[in-house]
């Protein structure tokens, strides 16, 4: 996925000279995950800017650059380091269009490698999506596959609104064929569309970002249990949200109308996690269709643990299936 993002950034920079990248270690180093590898060489130091070490300033100067007509893409080195910029994001970036009555836009993308699973030290495995999704004026997305990443980063950069772009860092190394000819104008789908990645009849499993692959794994495990003679093993429908703000829940509602059961999974703590809002909305939209309470599977309400414990913190396929089972056996 890192390579797909790199290609997506390159395509966006080729397409629009106003696009520039700001961040720590993104030029000669190419970013600690090499997402910007080679871009400084090809586009120059003026468009791929190694900044001093200060996240508030990265976002704050991006706002100023946007006011001057540029389209900055900020890289925050790790999820845990976005918080120094939280004020600029929450009080400035998210509000600037509204308070200026549309006169000042903020077409800024904030790229954040997020989530756990890579055995990292503290502050390198956070899932801060709700902080942003709860903030009016921001858009929040997360790709789950290289192909999506390639298109979505271009779409995000093309968006006239600020986009928090959450990159599931443990999927950076994932490889897949990517159609490098897709451009925002030629994409067949919008940045803010969820999609069914695996149809299923018995239960709906909703997730995003890093856990989409895990959910597919869980569905495959369940399918493997199934026998033609009607043995155990539910047929799980997996939905990749892709867009966290705005949420696109129509596909989820349609799915639950069919399946009657819903499990939501994310790495962030369950309490006030994205699943809370989804459960609340589905509880309303599918009041008569839900055959069991919505089950939420997520991180525990503790600080992200030491890396050797993270496997017990992160929802894996087994925990998803446990959730599926609880929903099914209700």
């Amino acid at each position: 996925m890192a390579k797909a993002l790199n290609e997506g950034l390159r395509a966006a920079m080729d397409a629009d000279p106003r696009v520039l990248l700001l961040g720590e270690d993104i030029a000669s180093l190419g970013g600690v995950f090499r997402v910007t590898d080679g871009l400084a060489k090809d586009f120059g130091d003026d468009r791929v800017v190694d900044t001093p070490l200060a996240e508030s300033a990265i976002v704050g100067t991006a706002i100023g650059l946007a006011m001057r007509g540029y389209r900055p893409v900020c890289e925050i080195q790790f999820d845990g380091f976005v918080f120094p910029a939280f004020d600029q994001i929450t009080s400035q970036l998210s509000k600037i269009r509204n308070r200026s009555l549309g006169r000042v836009g903020a077409p800024i993308v904030i790229r954040i490698p997020f989530g756990g699973g890579i055995g990292a030290v503290e502050h390198h495995s956070e899932s801060p999506e709700v902080y942003f999704a709860h903030t009016p004026g921001l858009r929040v997305v997360s790709p789950a596959t290289p192909a999506d990443a390639f298109v979505m980063i271009q779409q995000a950069i093309a968006s006239p609104d600020p986009v928090v772009f959450l990159e599931p860092k443990r999927r950076y190394w994932g490889k897949a064929d990517v159609d490098l000819s897709v451009r925002p104008a030629s994409a067949t789908w919008d940045l803010h569309e969820s999609r069914i990645v695996r149809p299923g009849r018995d239960i709906t499993l909703v997730t995003y970002g890093p856990l989409v692959a895990t959910a597919l794994e869980a569905a495959a495990m369940a399918a493997a249990e199934r026998s033609p003679t009607g043995g155990a093993g539910p047929d799980i429908e997996v939905i990749d949200l892709r867009t966290l703000a705005p949420l696109d829940l129509d596909p989820v509602v349609a799915s639950v109308v069919r399946t009657g059961r819903l499990v939501i999974a994310h790495e962030a703590p369950v309490v006030h996690g994205l699943g809370a809002e989804i459960a609340a909305q589905l509880g309303e939209a599918c009041f008569h269709h839900l055959e069991a309470p919505v089950v939420r599977v997520g991180g525990w309400a503790v600080p992200y643990p030491a890396s050797r414990l993270e496997h017990s913190y992160l929802p894996d396929a087994e925990r998803m299936l446990d959730g599926v089972d609880r929903a099914l056996s209700y």
Binding site: L20, D46, T51, P52, A54, S56, A57, V59, G60, T61, A62, I63, G64, L65, A66, M67, R68, G69, Y70, P72, P84, D87, Q88, S91, Q92, K95, I96, R97, N98, R99, S100, L101, G102, R103, V104, G105, P136, G137, R139, S159, P160, D161, H192, P246, L247, D248
Partner: protein, 392 residues
């Protein structure tokens, strides 16, 4: 000094070296409290084009802006504004720096730069929109090259720095073309110097050599906290360790402020990088109309600064050189009165927009959930007050 003296006194030429004011020996001053204008020295030379005629127009700026401020304060007292952050005492710092800007320059204000706004052609009533609570913004930043007010202390210094980085990328620095070369100015207060954002702005501006002037109005107070709590060394020195030279100017001296700001802006435009200007001034009124100064400062301090009123000294000077006769002053008074009345009328006419406009411009592109919320909002407001009924 005789205020009626029509001809310049036959004294040795005054220089701008320093002032004997409380601002200390490093402070640039061109117009003394008594209204004597320095005519020699580096900064005096920079404003040698400011003829008595121009100075009269600066005086007019000052008087009209004070009237604007007074009117706004009165409107607040009468309940027509929710709040007002007055600028009494800081008019010279704002007019001097604002008039130093060229059309293409861009200014980033706090919430108190009403006189800078004036120099950028922002209609005073637009500013009242914010304080009246009918708008969050008030004007088009790009029309006036004047950003919206910023209430979160220090934030705008980063926006200014980023904007200046954009100016660099546009090739609008150091070309030598006076219509093209562009500087950015970031306004902030003494209290703001403590915010991390301001220091980060210094770091970025210095590192990228951005054409931005940091203009700090040290009005001695951050609400109830004196400048000494923020810094025990003069604030104009704050930039030194960042590689940003600083200068302290008498913020109550419109001429000195214009000179010092011109120099800093020109340095920035020509590619010389950022600079810090500390305008040493005083917030003569309360922090805002909600504030109560008696809790933290004494009347003696206020009185001593009243002597140094930025308007008084210009009048003294103009009178001393015979450029401000009573007729002219009276005419200006009438103009101010008319301005005040006009502002008042516009303020009273300002109605809040329909509530549903709060849903506008949250996003530029479509946003389905918000559209649904707006539909709910409309439905709720279309219906009668919802009937309260027991379960059916």
């Amino acid at each position: 000094m005789d205020e009626r003296n029509d001809a310049p006194a036959a004294e040795p030429p005054h220089t701008d070296v320093t002032s004997t004011d409380t601002g200390g020996p490093d402070m640039v001053q061109l117009l003394s409290v008594d209204g004597v204008r320095a005519t020699q020295g580096h900064y005096a030379d920079l404003v040698s084009d400011i003829t008595p005629e121009v100075l009269r127009s600066r005086y007019r700026d000052l008087v009209l802006c004070r009237r604007f401020d007074d009117e706004a304060t009165a409107l607040q007292r009468q309940g027509e504004l929710g709040l007002w952050a007055g600028m009494r005492g800081q008019e010279a710092a704002q007019i001097g720096s604002g008039r130093a800007l060229r059309a293409q320059d861009f200014a980033f204000p706090t919430y108190r730069e009403h006189a800078v706004a004036w120099t950028r052609g922002v209609p005073p009533a637009s500013i009242l929109a914010l304080y009246r609570g009918v708008e969050l913004g008030g004007w088009d930043p790009d029309q006036h090259n004047f950003a919206l007010y910023c209430l979160v202390i220090g934030s705008q210094t980063l926006h200014a720095t980023g904007y200046a980085m954009g100016v660099q990328r546009d090739g609008a620095v150091g070309t030598g073309d006076p219509e093209r070369d562009t500087a950015v100015v970031a306004y902030f207060g003494d209290g703001a110097t403590s915010q991390g954002d301001v220091s980060e702005a210094f770091v970025f501006a210095a590192s990228f050599h951005a054409p931005v002037v940091f203009f700090c109005q040290n009005n001695q107070w951050a609400i109830s906290v004196p400048t000494s709590r923020q810094s025990q060394v003069p604030l104009y020195q704050r930039g030194l360790g960042f590689g940003i030279p600083g200068v302290r100017v008498d913020g109550n001296d419109v001429l000195a402020v214009e000179a010092v700001t011109r120099a800093a802006l020109e340095r920035a435009r020509s590619g010389g990088g950022p600079m810090l200007v500390e305008a040493y001034t005083y917030r003569m009124a309360a922090h805002t109309t909600s504030d109560d100064t008696t809790r933290y400062r004494d009347a003696a301090e206020e009185q001593s600064w009243a002597q140094r009123d930025p308007i008084l000294r210009v009048r003294r000077h103009l009178q001393s050189i015979g450029e401000a006769d009573q007729d002219w002053l009276d005419a200006l008074d009438r103009e101010a009165g008319a301005l005040g009345a006009d502002i008042r009328r516009q303020c009273l006419e300002m109605r809040e927009p329909p509530a549903r406009t709060m849903f506008q411009h949250v996003y530029a592109a479509e946003h389905a959930p918000l559209a649904r919320e707006l539909a709910d909002f409309d439905a709720y407001h279309a219906g009668e007050a919802a009937p309260v009924g027991v379960p059916s």
